[in-house]
Amino acid sequence: MRSDSEPTRWRGRVARGAAIAIGCAVILAFPAVADNPYMLTVGIGILNYAVLATAWNFVGGFTGYISLGHAALSGLGAYGTALLVTCAGLPSFVALFVAAALVTVLAIPIGAAALRVRGASFVIVSIALVLILLLVFQSWASLTGGSRGLVVPRPFPALHRAEHHRVFYFLFAALLAMALVAWWVIDRSRFGLGLKAIREDEDKSAALGIATFAGKLIAFVVSAAFTALGGGLYALWFGDLDPVFQFSVLTGSTVVLMALLGGVRHLFGPLVGAVIVGAGLEYGKLEFGDTPLHLVGTGVLLGGVVMFMPEGVIPALSGVLARWFAPREASIREVTAAVLLDSRREPPPRSASGEGPAEVDR
C-alpha cells in the first residue's frame, strides 16, 4: 500500500530526474573543467571506486551478504587482462573482455563454495580468498612478476598522457553507467525482489519458494563480472600491477565503506559514497602525505558509519529534506522487518547475546 498522494509522487519524480541530469552533467563536464592531469587522475580514481562499489552492491545491497573480498575479483580481472596482453598477445580491449569472462566463469565455483555459509563465515571466506590470492600472486613471480610488479602495455601508444587520461575517464564513466543500469533493472525486477527477500529473511524466503541459492549465486556472478571489468580497465589505465595493492583487504573494505556510507539500498548510494570517501582519501594524501594516518581515518569513518549511520547518507539526507520541504508527507521508508520489530520492542535493556529465542541451543 502506498500512501503517497499523486502530486507528491510527481514532485519526487521530477526532483529525482533533475538530480540524475545534474549528476550526469557534472560527471561528463568534469574533464573539461579539471584543467590539470592530476585532477583528472583523481576523477578516474573516484570513478574506478564507484564502479567497484556499485558492482559490490549487487551482492551487498540486494542479498545483504557483506563481502570484504571483492578485491580478489578485481585483482583477478586486472592480472587476467594484463597477462592476456603480455603473454597471449591479445589486443588490449579483447583481453579485457576475455579476462572478465574468465573471472565470471571462475566466480561460479567460488560463489557456490562461499555462499554455502552465511553471516560471519561468509565474511571470513571472502577475506581468506583475498589473502590466498595475495600469497599465490606474490610467490608465483615467474608469471606475475611478484612484488617487482607487472607492466601492462598502454592500449593507445599514440596518445600522450593527458589524452590517455581523458579517454579512460570516459571509459570508466561508461562502465559505471552500465553497472548502474544493470543494478536498476534488477532492482525493479521480480528477481530483485527475491534477492531482497533473502536480505530480509533467508529462511522465510526459501520457505516461500524463492530459489535462494540460485539467486545469491547469480547476484554474486553478476557482481564478479562488473568487478573484473573494473579491475581490468584499471590495469589498462594504470599500466603497472603489484599484488599488494591488487589483492588488498583494505581496498575491499574501502569499497564496502563507500557503499555503506552512501546507502546500500539506493541505486546511487555507492557512487555518492565513492565521491565522498575517494575525495576524502585524496585530500588526506595531499594534506598529511603518505602516513599510516589514512588507515586511522578509514577506520574511524567505517566505525562511525556502522555505529551511527548503517543506512547511509542518502536515507539520512532525504529524511532531513522530507522534514524540511514536506512536513505532512506520509512516506513509506524501506526498513527491514527486523528493524521495525526492533523499534517497536520495549526500549533497552537489549539482549546482550544474539537474537533471542530463535537462537535457543537444543
Partner: protein
C-alpha cells in the same frame, strides 16, 4: 627423520599459540555471536607494548604482562559495552565484522604512526640459546612462548569450568534467555567474557614478541590462519578450535620442508575451503555453528 621430528615439535609449539588466540576468538563468538577481526591487531598491539616496555625499562618483556593483561581486559569490557552491544541485534553479526575491522585499521595505522613502519625485534640474553629435545633443537624463547600459551589456556579452562563466573559465562553462551531467567546478568557476563578474550590477545602478543620480528601490518599474517582455524574447528567450540589449531599448526610446519614457508601457509586456506565444501559447520563444530 630428524628434520621431520624437528618441524613436528615446532608445529606443536606454534599450534599452542594459535590455540590460545583461537580460544579468545571462540569466546567472543560464544557470548556475542560476533567475529572479531581486530583480535590479531590487538595481538600485534600487545607485542608492540611488550617490545616498548623492554626498550624503556630494559626489563624482561614477560614482566609487562601484569600491566597489559588488566588493560586489555578492561578494553575488552569497554569495547563490548560501548560498541558491540549497541549494534542492532538483527544485523549484529555482519556489522560487528565491519566494526572490528575498523578497529583493526585504527590500531594498525596508529602503530605505524607512533612507532613507524620499521621492523622491531626484542634482543634478550637468552634469545640465541636453544635446547636439545630428543634430537630436535628448539629455541628457548619458543618454549617460553608455548609455556605461556599453555598456562593461559589452562587458566582459561579452570576459570570456565571451576569458578562461579565461569558457570555463568557458559550458561550465557549456551542459552542467554534461560541464563537471564535464573538471575544471571548476561550483559555484564558477556562484557567480562569479551574482556577475557582480549586478555588472551595480550598474553599471546607478549609470547609473540619474544621470538619474532614485529611490524604494524603483521596482523594480516595472523588473521587468515586464525579465521581458518575457527571455521575448521567449528565456530563456538573451544576444544574444537584447539584441536584444529594444533593439527593445522603441525601440518604447516611439516609442509614447510618440501614447499617452503610461503606456500606452506596455503594449507590454512585449503583447509578452510575443504571444510566449507564438506562440512560447513566445522569439523568439531557445535550446534551454534549451524546458524552461521
Amino acid at each position: 627423520m630428524a628434520l621431520v621430528f624437528q618441524s613436528l615439535v615446532l608445529g606443536v609449539l606454534l599450534g599452542g599459540l594459535y590455540a590460545l588466540l583461537a580460544a579468545g576468538l571462540t569466546l567472543y563468538f560464544g557470548v556475542m555471536r560476533v567475529v572479531m577481526i581486530a583480535h590479531s591487531a590487538f595481538l600485534i598491539l600487545a607485542a608492540y607494548l611488550a617490545w616498548y616496555f623492554h626498550e624503556v625499562t630494559e626489563l624482561d618483556p614477560l614482566l609487562s604482562l601484569p600491566i597489559t593483561v588488566p588493560v586489555f581486559f578492561a578494553a575488552g569490557v569497554a569495547m563490548q559495552r560501548l560498541l558491540l552491544a549497541r549494534l542492532r541485534p538483527a544485523t549484529r553479526t555482519m556489522m560487528s565484522v565491519l566494526l572490528t575491522f575498523s578497529i583493526a585499521l585504527i590500531i594498525e595505522g596508529g602503530l605505524g604512526y607512533v612507532f613507524t613502519g620499521t621492523q622491531h625485534r626484542i634482543q634478550l640474553g637468552y634469545s640465541g640459546t636453544s635446547l636439545e629435545l630428543f634430537g630436535a633443537r628448539v629455541a628457548v624463547v619458543k618454549l617460553i612462548a608455548f609455556a605461556l600459551a599453555a598456562a593461559a589456556l589452562l587458566a582459561l579452562y579452570l576459570v570456565m569450568m571451576k569458578s562461579r563466573f565461569g558457570q555463568a559465562l557458559r550458561a550465557t553462551i549456551q542459552h542467554p534467555e534461560a541464563a537471564r531467567l535464573i538471575g544471571i546478568q548476561t550483559e555484564r557476563v558477556a562484557g567480562y567474557g569479551f574482556g577475557l578474550g582480549l586478555a588472551t590477545a595480550a598474553i599471546g602478543g607478549t609470547a609473540l614478541a619474544l621470538d619474532s620480528t614485529i611490524y604494524p601490518s603483521l596482523h594480516w599474517r595472523w588473521i587468515g590462519p586464525l579465521m581458518a582455524i575457527i571455521v575448521v574447528g567449528g565456530l563456538g567450540s573451544v576444544p574444537g578450535t584447539a584441536i584444529a589449531a594444533m593439527v593445522l599448526g603441525m601440518l604447516m610446519s611439516l609442509l614447510q620442508i618440501p614447499l617452503g614457508t610461503t606456500w606452506a601457509q596455503t594449507v590454512f586456506y585449503l583447509a578452510l575451503f575443504a571444510t566449507l565444501a564438506i562440512r560447513p559447520q566445522g569439523f568439531f563444530g557445535g550446534r551454534l555453528a549451524k546458524r552461521f
